[in-house]
């Protein structure tokens, strides 16, 4: 056992976990690719004529924007599940809350352009006979305040939930089921018209954001670009956090929470902190998602959605930030393709994918990829190792060794 472990440890190629050897590690290539694609796609949409073969349609741009916000959501789940072993089946709730905060702002921007021409109230309130805005809609016409709420509301919910749950040491399956109950309760609540968020219809028919027309190509491209930037930003931040000592503590909590406690770490504080951080990323993703797809409704709270996010992460490879992003992009792309090609069969394909990934790719696609590259390294290194002394090869190899820490996820005991 230890033999095989060490062999994985020694020859892992990825160095995501620690940038001691090369500052930035794998972050740079990913960010560069992401931003390059963004710039190219945006330019192709804005500058090229529609007839050009390289023209990227606004439809594609919006689709990409949606994928990227999903990727961000997956990143949020990965931070909490892959690194800290907390399987949240309710992250869709934070995503949706962020989305609703943005949605409320966008609704306020409609002003008197609603179908009833009411100067202040959104249409659904007019026909529900409401005479004034509920208090929680006040102030949401200010962009800065709305953005604050995007972070504050999901953050606060995550804080309260996390504080309650982690303090009383609800762990593992129990915690997962509780997060599911949380999002389910919110689903039911937001379905209620009395909540003042448009009930089942949710919020839609947005006009503009910060004065820019939401339907113009430039705004769409800009939103897409902002999403890409935010994804890059959250990716870099998360990477930095996971590299810091806090990241190590988090992984330590995943693998041995009791031990971490005996070392003097107040693990519940760490978990709450990370949970809130993750919820906020999800919320930002939601806030970016809404103006791009043009609607937010309670369906986003559905527990099935949250499970699906977890699946993206599992497919990509949990415990590696890049895996979460790759998983989200791939699964969603496949979904778009499959629903078009075989609408009846795609659930079979999706279901089979989940089963096969858990059975055969416990480390996800990124895990497979790094295993393959490991082999390649192994082949190459053999010849090198022969020539160099063990002392010298120790350091560079060890950076690789740590990488597999994440891949070599010892299942959080539940």
């Amino acid at each position: 056992m230890s033999q095989s472990l060490s062999s994985i440890a020694r020859f892992s190629a990825s160095d995501l976990f620690k940038g001691k050897g090369q500052p930035g590690g794998r972050v740079a290539p990913f960010v560069v690719i992401l931003l390059a694609v963004t710039v190219l796609a945006s330019a192709a949409n804005l500058l090229l004529p529609e007839s050009s073969p390289f023209y990227v349609s606004t439809y594609t741009i919006t689709l990409l924007g949606k994928y990227l916000s999903y990727a961000m959501l997956a990143l949020a789940v990965d931070v909490i599940w892959g690194y800290c072993g907390i399987l949240s089946l309710g992250h869709g709730a934070f995503f949706a809350l962020g989305g609703y905060a943005m949605g409320v702002y966008l609704m306020r921007q409609i002003g008197d352009r609603g179908v009833y021409g009411h100067p202040e109230l959104p249409d659904f309130m007019v026909f529900l006979d409401w005479s004034e805005l509920p208090w929680y809609w006040l102030g949401m016409d200010q962009f800065w305040f709305a953005m604050l709420m995007v972070l504050a509301v999901p953050g606060l919910l995550a804080y309260i939930f996390g504080w309650l749950a982690f303090r009383s040491r609800v762990t593992g399956v129990y915690l997962s089921i509780m997060t599911q109950a949380l999002t389910y309760a919110l689903l039911l609540a937001f379905f209620r018209n009395e909540m003042g968020f448009g009930g089942n219809n949710g919020l839609t028919d947005f006009k503009d954001i910060l004065g820019f027309d939401l339907q113009s190509d430039t705004t769409r491209v800009a939103l897409f670009a902002i999403t890409a930037l935010m994804l890059a930003l959250t990716f870099i931040t998360s990477h930095w956090i996971m590299q810091s000592r806090l990241g190590k503590v988090v992984v330590a909590i995943r693998d041995g929470e009791a031990r971490a406690r005996f070392l003097g770490y107040r693990t519940d504080n760490f978990k709450v902190w990370l949970f809130v951080y993750s919820a906020m990323i999800a919320a930002i993703a939601g806030a970016l998602y809404v103006p791009q797809v043009g609607i937010i409704n309670p369906g986003e709270f559905s527990p099935i959605n949250s499970i699906e996010i977890v699946i993206w992460v599992a497919v990509g490879g949990r415990g590696t930030l890049i895996g979460a992003i790759v998983g989200a992009l791939l699964v969603n792309y496949a979904k778009t393709r499959f629903t078009a090609i075989m609408p009846d069969g795609w659930l079979f394909a999706l279901g089979a994918l989940f089963v096969l990934v858990t059975l055969f790719l416990p480390k996800g696609l990124v895990g497979v990829f790094s295993q393959l590259t490991e082999r390649w390294f192994l082949m190459r290194n053999r010849s090198q190792v022969k020539n160099s002394s063990a002392e010298e090869s120790d350091k560079p190899l060890s950076t690789g060794a740590q990488a597999s820490a994440g891949v070599q996820t010892k299942e959080a005991s539940v």
């Binding site: 041995g256 350091k395 996820t409």
Partner: protein, 281 residues
């Protein structure tokens, strides 16, 4: 009138420059060992579903002492450690660390911060981390969330880790994943994690299980060298090992202290011979 005077008096009291406001006072008080005793365990009772794991247990450990706890399975050794470190709540009794710290009121991390370190029966190290990281995580530092996020290793800390690596003999493996270590190496690493955190009191549960004779010998050496500066409590089944390190031995039986003294005294104790050593002999 007098009310006003009182108020000004209080105000003056508040503004005294030679005192700090109570809420600004550092919470961490040094352990008060003015009576030479560092750990008081008195009248401890604990039962699981009717089974009395601890039964009116009394134990006093002197500062800088090396104490061995022995006893048959189920005698309450590990449970006692669980209670001291805050893992298990007891039914009644008191546990004081020095004169001034009631351990029963504190959580595991707080107890750890006071300077009580523990090594588990089964070696528990963070297998997904390197040896170096394991030690880094155990350093005696501020363990709040934000300080941890922004933490950087200082040269002193680096030196300290190197020093400990030297002591536990894992210098070569410093960048190896802890999961890849052998059983004995994990035991050492765990001891190293204790050392690097500079505790006042070390609770060590079966340190030599799964070690070669040579390793056992080294462990004995290490533990004896620790005593004095630190206080060490060792739970062990290996009688040879106990004999090689022990100055004072406490025998537990069915949740309470059966006998206490030097190894020879204990071995000659009638009760002990009857219930424990007798079986071995």
């Amino acid at each position: 009138m007098s009310a006003l005077e009182n108020l000004t008096a209080e105000g003056k009291e508040m503004l005294r420059r030679d005192q700090v406001w109570p809420f600004l006072m550092p919470k961490q008080q040094a352990v008060d060992v003015s009576h030479q005793v560092i750990l008081y365990v008195e009248g401890l009772n604990l039962s699981f579903d009717g089974f009395k794991a601890l039964n009116d247990l009394n134990l006093y450990i002197n500062d800088g002492e090396l104490r061995c706890l022995i006893g048959a399975n189920g005698a309450g050794k590990t449970t006692l450690m669980d209670v001291i470190t805050g893992k298990t709540q007891c039914d009644s009794g008191t546990v004081y660390f020095g004169q001034n710290h009631n351990l029963l009121e504190r959580s595991e991390p707080e107890i750890a911060e006071l300077g009580i370190g523990r090594k588990f029966q089964k070696p528990t190290v963070f297998e997904a981390h390197t040896v170096f990281d394991n030690l880094e995580l155990s350093l005696k530092t501020n363990k709040g969330v934000m300080p941890t996020l922004l933490a950087r290793l200082t040269p002193t800390q680096l030196d300290r880790i190197d020093q400990v690596l030297e002591i536990i003999g894992l210098k070569e493996q410093r960048f190896l994943l802890a999961g890849a270590l052998s059983h004995g190496q994990k035991q050492w690493l765990e001891i190293g994690m204790l050392l690097v955190s500079e505790p006042r009191l070390l609770l060590i549960d079966e340190p030599v299980a799964g070690m070669t004779a040579q390793e056992t010998e080294r462990t004995a050496e290490l533990l004896t060298s620790l005593a004095g500066e630190h206080t060490v409590i060792v739970v062990e089944h290996d009688m040879e090992f106990v004999r090689s390190i022990a100055r004072t031995v406490t025998v537990l039986h069915q949740g309470s202290v059966l006998a206490e003294g030097t190894m020879d005294q204990v071995q000659n104790n009638k009760d002990v011979i009857e219930v424990y050593l007798g079986e071995e002999a």
